[in-house]
């Protein structure tokens, strides 16, 4: 990616915090500019503020008025140039994040990390903390 090109931006809509945290960090490490949200409405807020992401990576289960499917349908109609990727659960989010990293924008100097395994460890740790 040349330095003259704007950084590829991803709006990551994921209501589960530990999935969002790990996936966002992973995508940033891969060179993407990541905007984090939890609601379908966050897409509209971003557009209304004058910013348009290149990619929307959204869980099918979103908080707010619309779910991921409805949001994807709406974006295809109003902003057909935006790539929408829908995910479901930990495995889906991890798989799509790893695919995006394989495509760039920067070449990773390390072997793709198992995003899914890391999220599961954090979830287990949180469950243990909640029990104690």
């Amino acid at each position: 990616m040349s330095t003259n090109e704007p950084q590829t931006s991803i709006l990551l809509l994921e209501p589960e915090i530990l999935i969002r945290m790990v996936v966002a960090q992973y995508l940033r490490d891969c060179g993407y500019m990541v905007i984090e949200g939890v609601h379908a409405d966050d897409f509209r807020s971003l557009i209304d503020s004058g910013r348009q992401p290149h990619i929307v990576l959204a869980d099918v289960q979103l908080a707010g008025a619309a779910n991921g499917f409805e949001l994807a349908r709406s974006i295809r109609q109003t902003h057909p140039s935006i790539d929408v990727i829908l995910t479901s659960g930990i495995a889906g989010a991890a798989h799509e994040a790893q695919d995006l990293c394989d495509e760039g924008p920067i070449k990773k100097p390390y072997h793709p990390k198992d995003v899914e395994a890391r999220i599961r460890i954090l979830l287990e740790r949180r469950r243990a903390a909640n029990r104690s």
């Binding site: 945290m21 966002a24 490490d29 740790r125």
Partner: protein, 134 residues
């Protein structure tokens, strides 16, 4: 080499990590952008429960910047009390548009109150001061 994650090595040279707790999407994303450009790593939480989950998962956090008015059953003041109980050395900056909220904040070496509207450069300065003292 592994990608740097929320649990990077606790070396002197690593970037300081800020936990940003703010329910307003646009305020949160612009503050997070600013702090990342200022050289911090930033974890974003939309409410106190997300912030607690991030800390409970063992994420290394150096300081918290938290709105008082959060769209959930736990506000920023309650979160700062929880944080002081479980992570007594963790610096917390609370912010609110209501000046009366300052009165709810108990003075402590690790706790600061900054009134809204704030300049992000002021938040950066407060964070650097709090983190320098660590």
């Amino acid at each position: 080499m592994e990608p740097s994650t929320a649990e990077g090595p606790n070396s002197e040279n690593r970037r300081k990590r800020i936990l940003l707790v703010e329910d307003d999407f646009l305020i949160r994303s612009s503050a997070a952008d600013y702090l990342r450009n200022a050289g911090f790593d930033v974890n974003e939480a939309v409410n106190a429960h997300e912030a607690m989950a991030i800390l409970r998962a063992g994420t290394t956090i150096d300081a918290v910047f938290c709105d008082v008015n959060l769209a959930s059953d736990m506000d920023g003041v309650a979160f700062s009390r929880w944080s002081a109980e479980h992570y007594p050395k963790l610096p917390v900056i609370l912010t609110s548009g209501e000046p009366s909220a300052a009165g709810l904040v108990t003075e402590a070496p690790t706790l600061r109150f900054v009134a809204k509207p704030y300049a992000l450069s002021d938040i950066e300065r407060h964070l650097n001061t709090l983190l320098d003292g660590k």
